[in-house]
């Protein structure tokens, strides 16, 4: 699926929901923002800085927190201990590393704090990540991302396959991140989730935008969103990109 | 140097190419079956080694070439079965399993050869397969002496190419092999027994590899040498990639490699300034170059290296 003529912005302190039937370009959008796919044309700006086509490392450094759709394949390395997964996006920075050396006592300390704070159920931070349940795996990613107070968060299908408790936890944390000033982009197939959390809702269809609904200006109408998701209703989209 | 220009030289060269390509065709076809079903078989070198030994020792003891060929193939089939147990039933790492089989089979080969033959100064010989001229066909100019004046194993290899292609791409059985190599879950869902298909593929592969090894001792040479396979198994792994897992292309790849080998054999001794080892290493260097070129367009079966575990 190719992305065509997409242009939108995510603002500080809001959740922008991206709705759409799976396979309409959401994954591609996620990949571009996460830095694992380089768009042929088009730009991606963060606070006015062009970060199109940067490597994942640079994008992480710019303050983008990524909760990927494929948490088992992309978001975590399953065969290493939990504590390493908790810091993997910034293990090379002080205080976790100094020069070429890595400081596991510091990492363990932080990891224990995160495990407690995010209520991750494990017997030891040295547990192999693979042994965790789905909900706890997602919490590891969440802890890693939120502990950095990212400027922007992209969460793709963050609650897919999770039980009710873990889902509610995720929702709570995303709302909390928003109030702390992060710009949150929520890609989800679950329309209820989108409506429940989003300040604005963007509907994607065949790689393009069918319209953006700003909940401050209008009532959310499931029927309208449904029509847009099916590609039978298209609205003018104004605004630049962020 | 004028001999380079004569027709007999070229006919001799091409016939040698086909001869040298024979074990590569067999082994590479075998590996193609294996990989098409989703299993990389690095046991290939060892299985060929053991096939070379099993074929030789059988003929040495019984004077029966056909029994030699049969037992060599059977030994390969059994190693294939063992590989299947390790990688399909147990789902072990395919790289390490294959290397384990190669080290084990090579060790066994040396062990039993030494136990039975000892270490005489001149290795014992057998009477190998001789070339069979096929009536009429061998009379065709150029093609006749190149293709139709070979040993029975070469004929088998030549026939095995279209048969393998037909099997893999035109039959239900081939469709099953390819589907368990691409998407075992989906294949399982439509009722294909993933384990069974992989077992059968690995056994076919092993038998072809064993036969390939026997060619060295029963047709190309008439004795067993410790380095007789000399990395041809590894070359076959590269040829599978070069051939993009398609039997017809395996044939051309093997001929290309066989040609380089045959050139080397012919050029040895023609030049004093170039050591003959340069010609010997040429095929390996060429294989690496071919791999580099084919790496970009290579599309291995999607489930290659991935064990399948039914939940």
């Amino acid at each position: 699926m190719a992305l065509k003529g997409i242009s939108f912005d995510v603002r500080k302190g809001e959740i922008l929901g991206i709705a759409g039937v799976s396979g309409n370009g959401q994954k591609e959008l996620e990949d571009v923002i996460c830095g694992v796919r380089i768009p042929r044309n088009g730009k991606f700006f963060l606070e006015g800085k062009d970060i199109t086509g940067k490597s994942p490392k640079e994008i992480i450094k710019m303050g983008v927190g990524r909760i990927p759709e494929d948490r088992m394949e992309d978001g975590l390395i399953l065969d290493i201990p939990v504590l390493e997964n908790l810091v993997i996006e910034y293990y090379d920075k002080v205080p976790y590393s100094k020069g070429a050396l890595i400081d596991y006592s510091k990492i363990e300390e932080v990891a224990k704090k995160l495990v407690k704070e995010y209520n991750i159920k494990i017997s030891s931070v040295y547990d192999i990540t693979r042994t965790l349940s789905g909900g706890n795996l997602q919490k590891v990613i969440l802890a890693r991302v939120l502990s950095q107070q990212p400027k922007m968060i992209i969460a793709s299908q963050p609650t897919r396959g999770l039980d009710i408790g873990a889902t509610e936890y995720m929702h709570e944390k995303l709302l909390h991140a928003k109030t702390k000033g992060s710009a949150v982009m929520l890609i989800s197939e679950d329309l209820n989730e989108i409506i429940h959390l989003s300040d604005r809702i963007l509907v994607m269809y065949e790689g393009g935008i069918m319209g953006i609904i700003d909940r401050e200006c209008e009532q959310v109408d499931i029927e309208t969103i449904g029509l847009m998701m099916a590609g039978s209703l298209k609205r003018e989209v104004k605004g630049g990109s962020n | 140097m004028s001999s380079f220009l004569t027709l007999p030289f070229w006919i001799g060269f091409l016939a040698a190419t086909v001869r040298v390509a024979t074990p590569l065709i067999l082994a590479t076809l075998g590996e193609t079956f294996s990989e098409r079903s989703g299993v990389l078989n690095l046991g290939i070198e060892g299985i060929m080694m053991f096939g070379a030994f099993a074929g030789f020792i059988t003929v040495y003891l019984t004077k029966n070439l056909w029994l030699g060929v049969t037992l060599a193939s059977l030994s390969g089939l059994l190693f294939g079965l063992f590989m299947a147990f390790l990688t399909v039933t147990l789902g072990l790492n395919q790289h390490v399993s294959g290397l384990g089989i190669t080290i084990f089979a090579t060790g066994l080969t040396y062990y039993f050869y030494r136990a039975i033959i000892g270490s005489p100064t001149v290795p014992p010989t057998i009477t190998p397969f001789t070339a069979i001229s096929i009536p009429l066909l061998s009379k065709i100019p150029i093609i006749g002496p190149v293709l139709f004046n070979q040993t029975i194993i070469t004929y088998f290899a030549l026939i095995a190419v279209p048969i393998s292609g037909y099997l893999l791409f035109k039959t239900n059985f081939g469709l099953s092999i390819r589907s368990v190599g691409e998407n075992p879950e989906a294949a399982d869902a439509v009722g294909v027994n993933v384990y069974k298909i992989r077992y059968i593929s690995l056994m076919i592969a092993g038998a072809l590899m064993g036969l390939s090894g026997a060619f060295f001792t029963l047709a190309e040479f008439n004795m067993f040498l410790y380095d007789i396979v000399g990395g041809r198994g590894w070359v076959s792994i590269a040829l599978v990639i070069f051939a993009n897992w398609v039997p017809a292309k395996v044939f051309w790849g093997a001929l290309l490699f066989g040609g380089i080998d045959a050139i080397g054999l012919r050029l040895q001794g023609t030049s004093i300034s170039v050591p003959f080892q340069v010609y010997l290493m040429l095929p390996y260097v060429l294989t690496i170059l071919v791999l580099i070129i084919s790496a970009r367009r290579a599309s291995a079966p999607s489930a290659l290296l991935k064990p399948y575990r039914r939940e």
Partner: protein, 356 residues
């Protein structure tokens, strides 16, 4: 299929005692299986293994000889383990060893006016660089161009062995004996002996340093973490910001360099000249050792010593009982496979029952 059904149930990390004892159990099982091949030749396995054991550690001389063999095995084991940790499938330690031996010989034959300390350092560096280059090529090809590393590393073994053969049958052929072996290297490039009147040389210390080096890199450095992460999941590592291309290339250089060192030791510590059979497959044994040692430096040290015992002991056993020396290769192959099966028990509980 069949009469027996094997069911695997996922389990958590097994207890530590099991992790530590697994290799020992693997050794016992593999010796039991190897016995079958001794019985086929109508040899008593117990007598055979007794001779093997005595031949390896039965006297001071045997013990020292065993350590002489252990040193290249430790190095190739560490070399392979480094590579496998990143899932860089370096099956080319054999060729890299020969590259190191070739470079050491080359510099050793120059008869440079160096003091022994400097000269030994020079050939060590030369050997590391040569091995590293020979491994860097397939490493780079894998990381940048996705060229299958198993095949390239394997094929490059043959290329290197032919290069060595060309040199030994050409410019380096011993002018006196006309044997395909190089002249002796400069005596001031010899590795010093650790114990007088034995063959134990500096190499064993270098090997122990390599063990420490691996432990330090893997456990204590950012690079070590990157190598482990790349090996555990290259895709996730990429997503999470680890430069997997860089990890693979660096690991290929380290791995080849260490394998090259093994070649230096054989030339400067044992043979003092280059011969075609400078390695009886130490590079391939390195694979078995790395796996038996579970890619852990200390485990590799122990595994290498075990196989040094097997190889040294097999000589004595062979001599006394007329058992082909290749029994040590058989044992290596079986051990590799058995150990691999043991590793399955780390991840799964196995339930064997009647087929459906």
């Amino acid at each position: 299929m069949g009469l027996i059904s094997v069911k695997l149930e996922k389990r958590n990390t097994p207890p530590v005692w099991f992790q530590i004892f697994a290799p020992f159990i693997a050794i016992l099982i593999s010796l039991a299986i190897s016995s079958i091949f001794l019985l086929i030749l109508k040899k008593n396995p117990f007598t055979a293994f007794y001779y093997m054991f005595v031949g390896a550690v039965g006297s001071k001389f045997a013990l020292l000889e065993m350590l002489v063999k252990a040193s290249p095995l430790i190095l190739t084991g560490i070399a392979v383990a480094f590579a496998f940790t990143a899932k860089y499938w370096n099956i080319g330690a054999e060729g890299q060893l020969y590259a190191g031996a070739l470079a050491a010989t080359w510099f050793g034959l120059m008869k440079l006016p160096f003091s022994p300390v400097v000269y030994v350092l020079v050939i060590i560096v030369a050997g590391i660089v040569a091995g590293a280059i020979w491994s860097f090529i397939p490493g780079y090809l894998k990381a940048k161009l996705k060229v299958d590393d198993v095949v390239t590393t394997l094929l490059m073994n043959y290329v290197m062995i032919y290069i060595v053969s060309a040199l030994l049958n050409g410019p380096w052929r011993d002018p006196v004996t006309m044997y395909p072996s190089s002249p002796s290297i400069a005596p001031n490039a010899y590795f010093p002996k650790l114990i007088p009147q034995s063959r134990l040389h500096l190499g064993i210390i270098i090997s122990l340093l390599a063990v420490a080096f691996m432990w330090f890199i893997i456990k204590k450095t950012k690079l070590g973490f990157e190598i482990r992460a790349t090996g555990a999941s290259s895709r996730a590592s990429n997503f999470l910001g680890i430069n997997t291309v860089k990890s693979i290339i660096i690991v290929s250089i380290i791995s080849g360099g260490i394998a090259g060192l093994a070649g230096v030791g054989e030339v400067a510590g044992v043979q003092y000249h280059l011969i075609q059979t400078i390695s009886p497959g130490y590079g391939y044994s390195g694979i078995v050792i790395a796996m038996l040692g579970r890619l852990n430096p200390i485990g590799i040290l122990l595994a290498a010593i075990y196989f040094a015992m097997v190889i040294t002991g097999a000589n004595v056993m062979s001599y006394n009982l007329h058992i082909p020396i290749y029994i040590s290769d058989v044992i290596q192959g079986i051990t590799l496979i058995v150990m691999l099966m043991m590793l399955l028990l780390f991840e799964y509980r196995i339930k064997i029952g009647r087929g459906k």
